[in-house]
Symmetry: C2
Subunit: 439 residues, 2 copies
């Protein structure tokens, strides 16, 4: 063919090679297992929706980032840019049938025409879970427990789930007569980790325009973190909202402790603001103690009303979202050697096409015994096949040549060390399992 | 809010409610497990590609169905309409790094602006697996074994994987001097199941324009199905191509038998044509014996050159694609009662908010023991909570009220029968597992 098309992906879009995709599948499988163990159920929604649905009130930034077009039927449509707006639309449409409380998780791709110079992708996976239709603090507690169980199940040993409550923050601002400046204050506090307390103090005074004494008090408060006892140091004056926030945080911490979470894993942190207008109660961030600079790997909060754009049924809820790309980068950095490079741990080599059927019988037996095995499809030199196994990341190679067929034995080679073991063919599955550490 | 937006999905697009999504997840999990056991590895590609890439040579039909638009950067882009074209582009781009043979699976959404009056959806999942870069019949055999293992793992007891070989068919047409009519003949044969032999015979003569004697011979041939022995009745004259097809089918069936597949599960069927120009060797269809009318639930074939549009490296391969929607409909029809309706089998009820922490401790213990359990988040009447459990599809409800807290016992209610069991709290996990049939 004369005119070949240059194979390439769009800017900001990625191919996932097997090694990366195996990692991603492992994270999602772990997430599904943890979500389910708490009774969360999966849903899915379309990638394309009416633009009107996705834009809702819409911010200018979202608008500019939307992949929006007119379909062949003349409809104004767009690709979803998150899983929260589709959840709101879905809940408004189906909640009568679903009933409440409704606990769902949703793992799916979203699309945003982001500026790729900031290292952002235009297509990425989100992994969200929410409990809708209840204001019970049990759901707030379980949200933190799910984050805890998920990171633990992923093999991350050192992490901290940081908790605050927007009622406490807003009550405190109310007590100081700063309610009108709330949005600015919370956004400023959100920058604490990045810019430090002095810069936030200046920003609060100069940009947000609050008195220096309040700025000092807020920055001092934001430095507080630990167990329930830190709440004794929080003064919300006579704000009922603030008092409710404090009470909720006390109940929250009592529940977390009752569930047996190791102290220090889930802590109060008065510096967490999560400045979105959306949140109204408990808010969540999760930092990896060994990689604090990558930011929160799982964040969320409680909201008063999910779907007011689409229904008059009030739907309070609480949920969080896993930062999939951040978490995968962290796992790669924390334990690069643990990443699986292949799906089946055993490679069965093949030398002689006339023995093909015997090989097929042996690998079928291994699979029936629960051992994943890839049969090299062509009779090639052993060296080439072992090199293939190395490259693919197989742990073991099984070699059965003429001698072995005569003796009814098999040679198992541990690819990392080069060690060889000769076993009877009817012991092969057990021997593989033993060498793989599965038995 | 005065102006609510009507919550709705686009025509041809679907929300997945939890019950349906649980089923879909179960199918994909089973598929991943089987694919991996053969050494297939996962990949992913973007939903959006350059239109030029997706259109390739492009048929008019594909063109019309494409979701195509100009992005904010002025690029002509489109949403992928299958996973085969992206695989070709991906292989052309990465095969140097990946090496061959390359065995991949890919589970992902595709979009086609289909006519929804034919009951088709405009967004659906595909689930494909392919072995690229080898002509070995081992890969053809394993393709059939994967289909076999997958349906078996899904609990389908009666199915038939039907096999033919395009070389045999083309050789036969060559021997009869009908090579120029090949496309028409194969398309006509593809309709056999739907319209019957008489209609196909007429079509071959009247529309395709081949002699009546050839039409009769082809329809008689197409009626042949069974083991290798039927090949004795196939006359490909002196066509080398036909002889090669017959030889490949013999080797194929020998391999399938060696792998221990129950006779009758994978059979030769001279009526399978899979009339796409694309296929050049073995072709596959899979029918459910109890639901033949839904058509093939897993189809595929061998091709000579995957990615000639994008690279001069010749990439032969073989693969198949699971018909996810068909298969889910079939599973629903074959065993509707088996469909999981919830993710955690146990519902823990809650009566008294002051006992919240004790309940959290008990459910944390159950989860640590591997029992999935949903804690009802609010202290409500028992009846309402049990009704919730019924609706959600929980198998067991655990009730711990004041009496049970005093006795350190728990009541376990089997929701389907109403039977109650009282056990010590420290026996709760074991008792649940026993009642769930896990122990």
């Amino acid at each position: 063919m004369a005119d070949r098309i240059q194979p390439r992906t769009l800017k900001g879009f990625r191919d996932f090679l097997p090694e990366a995709e195996l990692q991603r599948e492992a994270v999602f499988e772990t997430a599904r297992t943890v979500f389910r163990s708490y009774g969360f159920v999966p849903i899915d929604t379309p990638a394309l929706e009416y633009t009107e649905i996705l834009m809702g009130k819409g911010s200018d930034e979202t608008d500019k980032q939307l992949y929006r077009f007119t379909d062949n039927g003349g409809r104004d449509v767009a690709m979803r840019f998150d899983l929260t707006v589709p959840l709101a639309r879905y809940a408004a449409q189906h909640i009568g049938e679903l009933g409440t409380p409704f606990k769902r998780y949703h793992i799916g791709s979203v699309w945003r025409g982001e500026n790729t110079q900031r290292g952002r992708y235009r297509e990425f996976m989100q992994c969200d879970f929410d409990t809708i239709g209840t204001e019970s603090v049990v759901s707030d507690i379980e949200t933190a427990l799910v984050i805890h169980d998920l990171l633990t199940a992923l093999g991350i040993e050192r992490f901290t789930v940081r908790i605050n409550n927007r009622r406490l923050l807003n009550g405190l601002l109310e007590a100081r007569g700063l309610t009108d400046q709330a949005t600015g204050v919370l956004r400023s506090l959100d920058k604490l980790d990045k810019v430090g307390p002095d810069a936030v103090r200046s920003d609060l005074v100069a940009t947000v325009g609050i008195p220096e004494s309040d700025a000092n008090a807020l920055v001092d408060l934001a430095a507080l973190s630990g167990g329930s006892d830190i709440l004794d140091q929080v003064d919300v004056g006579d704000s009922e909202l603030g008092a409710r926030g404090i009470d909720e945080l006390r109940q929250f911490m009592a529940g977390v402790e009752a569930a047996g979470v190791e102290p220090g894993r889930i802590v109060l942190d008065m510096g967490i603001a999560r400045g979105l207008d959306y949140y109204t109660g408990t808010v969540y961030e999760t930092v990896l103690d060994d990689l604090p600079d990558i930011g929160s790997v799982c964040s969320g909060g409680r909201y008063d009303d999910l779907a007011s754009l689409y229904t008059n049924q009030r739907l309070p809820g609480v949920g969080a979202s896993l930062g999939v790309d951040r978490l995968l980068a962290a796992l790669e950095e924390l334990s690069p050697e643990s990443s699986a490079r292949t799906s089946a741990p055993v490679l069965m080599t093949l030398f002689d096409d006339s023995r093909r059927s015997e090989h097929l019988a042996v690998v079928a037996g291994l699979r029936r015994a629960g051992v994943g095995v890839e049969l090299y499809p062509e009779a090639r030199k052993l060296g080439a096949q072992l090199k293939y196994g190395d490259r693919r990341g197989h742990t073991l190679a099984v070699i059965i040549g003429d001698t072995e067929w005569d003796d009814e034995t098999a040679q198992i080679k541990v690819l990392a060390t080069g060690d060889s073991h000769v076993v009877d063919q009817d012991e092969l599955a057990d021997a593989c399992r033993r060498l793989l550490g599965d038995a």
